[in-house]
Amino acid sequence: MWNLMKNCWRTSGKFRFGAVVLVVLVGLALVAPVIYRPIIGNRSPARPGQFQRWLPPSGTHPMGTDGHGRDLLTNYLAGLRTTLYIGFLAGVISTTVGVSVGFYSGYKGGGIDAVLLTITNMLIVIPSYPILVAIAMVTPELTVATMSLILALFAWPFSARMIRAQVMTMKERAYVELAKVSGQGDLAIIFTEMMPNLTPYLLMGFAFSVVGAMVAEVAIEAIGLGPSNIITLGLMINYANGWGVYSMGRFEILLIPVAVLVLIFAAITMINRGMEEYLNPRLQKVTTEK
């Protein structure tokens, strides 16, 4: 995996750009509590009424305070932290389920494969957004973990289908045949022969799920149908719209979360694309000669 990253870094400018942006944002999210401790002490960033409302940016509040009397910088950082965390968790869950189903289906083939593929296809055509919102609305005490679980519910079929297709072609390769003939067990073949070769696809599937989960999360939060007890970037957008920050001339309150989200999505897509180009040289403009 380390080698793959190094090669992608060397060959693709897109990968470098995406990786740098993502590392900076994830780094910010990780050290967030260190940054906001001096401002709010040990209180939760989400607690309303900590300060005066609508303070302009100043030394103590670098970005001012919001309509609920909370420090804005603190809330952006907390929002970034939760949004990335939900995306990551939902990505891990859906990739794990998707990869297991995809591997099982593609490797076994036959009747099991047909049944699993049919179920996967059924889930893929259901528009998930209304159902996700409905589940989020009626789940009491929605935590970060349950939110991720709900988002993963509809995300796994996509990675399952992708992995299945890869496994189907890989199954026919000579080295897998050889492993079979030499008497290796199914699990040994999957983990020692196939998994290492599928790593890039696993990573791409993972990135895809993370983006999908974050898009859905922001979509649910931004129109105010999600939980209001977890601060995410989507919820910040919803608050900014609700306060009418346009008419107050405080555009940045809306623009910052939107811009950060756009950056996250762009960075992950760039990383994915960079990896794809490294794996499939036909996408690079230099290799195809007329």
């Binding site: 055509v125 528009p127 409905a134 609305m137 009626v138 129109i223 195809t288």
Partner: protein, 344 residues
């Protein structure tokens, strides 16, 4: 019949596709039905509450009243009985039941009212981005070594996964609010008579620009990227070398050879996108208070209107599946390579 199918593989192909079509729709509806019913929500209670709020009166939700509504909405009996009754009504009578959000009007009427707005907005924006994406993508592939092409590609990659509603927020802020160039709410101005008169049509067009622009920005990026990689992968092929050797103009080679071979997958993609447009941009409509399906969804979810939500999902599932069935059935007719593959 099986004998016939063995003799003509193409029949087998069509049969499989039709079977998968009905099976997938049926399964998707079943999954959705049970998922909604298993969510612990109480739509009748919600609905009575919303009536109370609306008319500022107190409704004593006595058992008799609740039960009579339960019957009207098909919520009596065991879950299994409800399921059989619902599917029976949907499949044999195309009856989606009454809606809560606009009781007692049937769900199908609500959807039929909202549908033209959604289809109008999305069909236009999807078509625009498809045509533009194909052209820009082909040019970007052809001049793939120029810095302009590189910039276009990089911007497209960055934008391709950004959800349209984030772009919409920017557009509303700058074009709608800051510069006050275009309206950001609704689908037309109330002052004009609804119908085929110039003022009304102009008003509809003006209101649709911002939501359409948000959708086009993102989907254009995706079409540019896919066209570019399709055309680039064609560029190494022998028939292009041959065309060049024949002395054809490079513009002709690009449009009539390289782009033309990218058309088939892109046309398939267009059909599938059109199929998914029912559910693709619900949030955009919600943001722009556009009277399409997104509005219906927002209201339905707020009070947990089972029937309306199921109706929306059925509409979306059926259109996605129908579009992909149409593609599957047409492909062997259009593409001789697929015909050969089926026969083998």
């Amino acid at each position: 019949m099986f004998k016939l199918m063995r003799k003509y593989p193409i029949l087998n192909y069509y049969f499989t596709k039709f079977f998968a079509y009905f099976l997938t729709i049926f399964g998707a509806l079943t999954i959705t039905f049970f998922m909604f019913r298993l969510i612990p929500a109480n739509p009748i209670e919600n609905w009575l509450r919303s009536l109370e709020a609306q008319y500022s009166l107190t409704i004593d939700g006595g058992d008799a009243m609740v039960n009579s509504y339960k019957e009207k909405f098909g919520m009596t009996g065991t879950l299994w009985q409800q399921y059989v009754r619902y599917m029976y009504n949907v499949i044999f009578h195309f009856d989606l039941g009454p809606s809560f959000i606009n009781f007692p009007r049937p769900v199908s009427e609500l959807l039929a009212e909202a549908l033209p707005w959604t289809m109008g907005l999305l069909a236009v924006s999807i078509s625009i981005s498809w045509v533009l994406g194909l052209l820009v993508g082909a040019v970007a592939a052809w001049f793939r070594d120029s810095p302009v092409s590189g910039t276009i590609t990089n911007i497209s990659i960055a934008l391709s996964q950004v959800p349209a509603y984030l772009i919409a927020l920017f557009l509303v802020l700058f074009i709608g609010y800051q510069w006050k160039l275009l309206p950001t709410r609704g689908a037309f101005d109330g002052q004009y008579a609804i119908g085929w008169n110039l003022d009304f049509i102009r008003s509809v067009a003006r209101h649709s620009i911002l939501p359409a622009l948000a959708i086009v920005t993102v989907s254009l990026a995706a079409w540019i990227l896919s066209t570019r990689s399709l055309v680039i992968s064609n560029l190494g092929e022998d028939y292009l070398l041959y065309a060049e050797a024949k002395g054809l103009k490079s513009g002709d080679i690009m449009t009539k050879y390289a782009l033309r071979n990218a058309m088939l997958p892109q046309a398939t993609g267009l059909a599938l996108t059109m199929g998914s447009m029912m559910s693709g941009q619900l949030l955009i409509e919600h943001m722009f208070v556009y009277p399409g399906l997104g509005q219906v969804m927002g209201r339905a979810i707020a009070i947990f209107d089972y029937n309306a939500m199921m109706g929306l999902i059925i509409l979306s599932v059926v259109s996605v599946m129908t579009a992909s069935l149409a593609v599957d059935l047409l492909l062997p007719v259009i593409d001789p390579r697929i015909r050969t593959a089926i026969k083998a």
